[in-house]
Amino acid sequence: MDFKFTDETQLLQEMVREFTEKEIQPIAAEIDEEERFPEEMVAKMAELGFLGIPFPEEYGGSGMTNLDYVVAVEEISKACASTGVIVSAHTSLAAWPIYNYGTEEQKQKYLIPLATGEKLGAFGLTEPGAGTDAAGQETKAEDKGDYYLLNGSKIFITNGYYADIYIIFAMTDRELGNRGISAFILEKGMPGFSFGTKEKKMGIRASATYELIFEDVKVPKENLLGELNKGFGVAMATLDGGRLGIGAQALGIAEGAFNAALAYVKEREQFGRPLAKFQNTQFRLADMYSRIESSKLTLYRAVCLKDEGVPYSTEAAMAKLLCSETAREVTWQAVQLFGGYGYTREYPVERMMRDAKITEIYEGTSEVMKMVIWGHLNRVDSI
């Protein structure tokens, strides 16, 4: 057991931290306020290789590990959870399934531009009637010989509209239920593929969340991702990895709020002394820090399992559950420590508290994480 980063991971963490402090942090409040998707920041990150961290160099990636990728999302999310999820959804939910399930042609055509960041990716599973029950897909894809004909819609799609490449799930055989779902690669601009409303959200307001509409979209046969009718497995495996990214986003939010609170209590004085002198403040911060560290270890361990190539879905579920609850708790406490100032937009903890909530909801709610964990417990007699 070795709890040390390699030199490479250390270096990557320093790089991303420096970039985040100099480039992302200064605009984080502004893009939240304006609900503006930071296209220019995505371009900058692409140039530096932030959009393909865990993929091999031959596919346009930076040739690093999943741990490196997760550390990057964590660092970015310390300042801006919206930017964190843009990177996470792109990397884990769009590029990874092509890397893992794609044919060589699909990798050449779609993974390379995604990993270099030339193109942005998104993932569409959720529908109005298919949320937690993702198998309840209404979108259907009919085999028309030369192509699949796609009809239906998706909601709540992160990076929607701004993304160029979409991983879309649809029923190819309704009779078979969740064994009749397939995954497809769609491109923005395909005739019949359009965008509906953009959600107005509580948090991560600089990330774009869109409705996708498919009206007789002709999807070429070669754009089937993975095997026919095996799409549900693709979705579940993809989400296992995605949860590591969301765990990292949540952890970053918690750390960002913690750092802000730690600095604030040393400055702010009441009753003639800094808040940090009150034992209540000290105990709160001790609790917050302990939660952050234990969530972090759980997350890093799950990621290391993925890097080792062994099953990690239970660990990923525990990591996401813990990190998102930590984000909620720590941001809540941070606002409390800031008092009235924390409730205003003068300080970042107000935004962070709003941003934290989504991490308990998307890529599987906390309830779903517990279902996954129970799924494991159901198969064992002791731990």
Partner: protein, 269 residues
Amino acid sequence: MNILVCVKQVPDTTEIKIDPVKKTLIRTGVPSILNTYDAYALEQALQLKDKDPDNVKIVVASMGPQQAESILRDCLAVGAESAYLITDRKFGGSDTYATSYILSQSVAKIVEQEGSFDMIFCGKQAIDGDTAQVGPQLGEHLGLHQITYAINISLNEEKNKALITRELDEGKVVVEAQLPVLVTFTKTDDLRFASIKNKMKSKRAEIKEINYDDLAGIDDTKIGLNGSPTRVVKSFTPDVKTDGIIIREDNPDEAFEKFAAELEKVKLY
């Protein structure tokens, strides 16, 4: 087009705090960085390379202890081609004069490997010593003409002359210089970040070393502590002075209005 950029590792002075009681610098835990002005000098070289990637080669050199290797790697990560660390115990304790002498001797050595330089870039000064002496002294040792406080450089069509914008207290001046030339840079454009790939590659890159023994014919009386004419007589914390303001208006009434407004701000009347 060969460009040599001379760089120095310095403590990050923005992170240094003064001990309020002892009035000394608190140096522990202060990270070492590439001197900011050297980074601007490198950025200008990189911009010349961006314009003509096949023909511009950038070499970086630093005199310092072994750990200064890390800033050379930073330079490689953003696009310098090769890096030299000039290091020897005998060089320790050198003041600006001895440093620039050792650098000038090393340049001859680097030229053997890399070919002669069309331009040598330096930062205008190091943010730790703030002397602004090493660049000009190096120019003198090498017999090059020198342009200081530059913020921008471009080359003519024939690539034998440089057009350099200098930033001075009274305004900007554009000068033309025949190559080869030594240029020192002040704050210019934003600095670039290294990509992940290049950063990782730079970690494994070779840093070439130049030691005392490599510099045949170096004059021992001009290096190290003994070769340094500078002596520190006294250190003290100067009183903090804020910058004055100069009000310039064609219309004296407007100038007076502004002057009065400034007085009002500081509540001087």
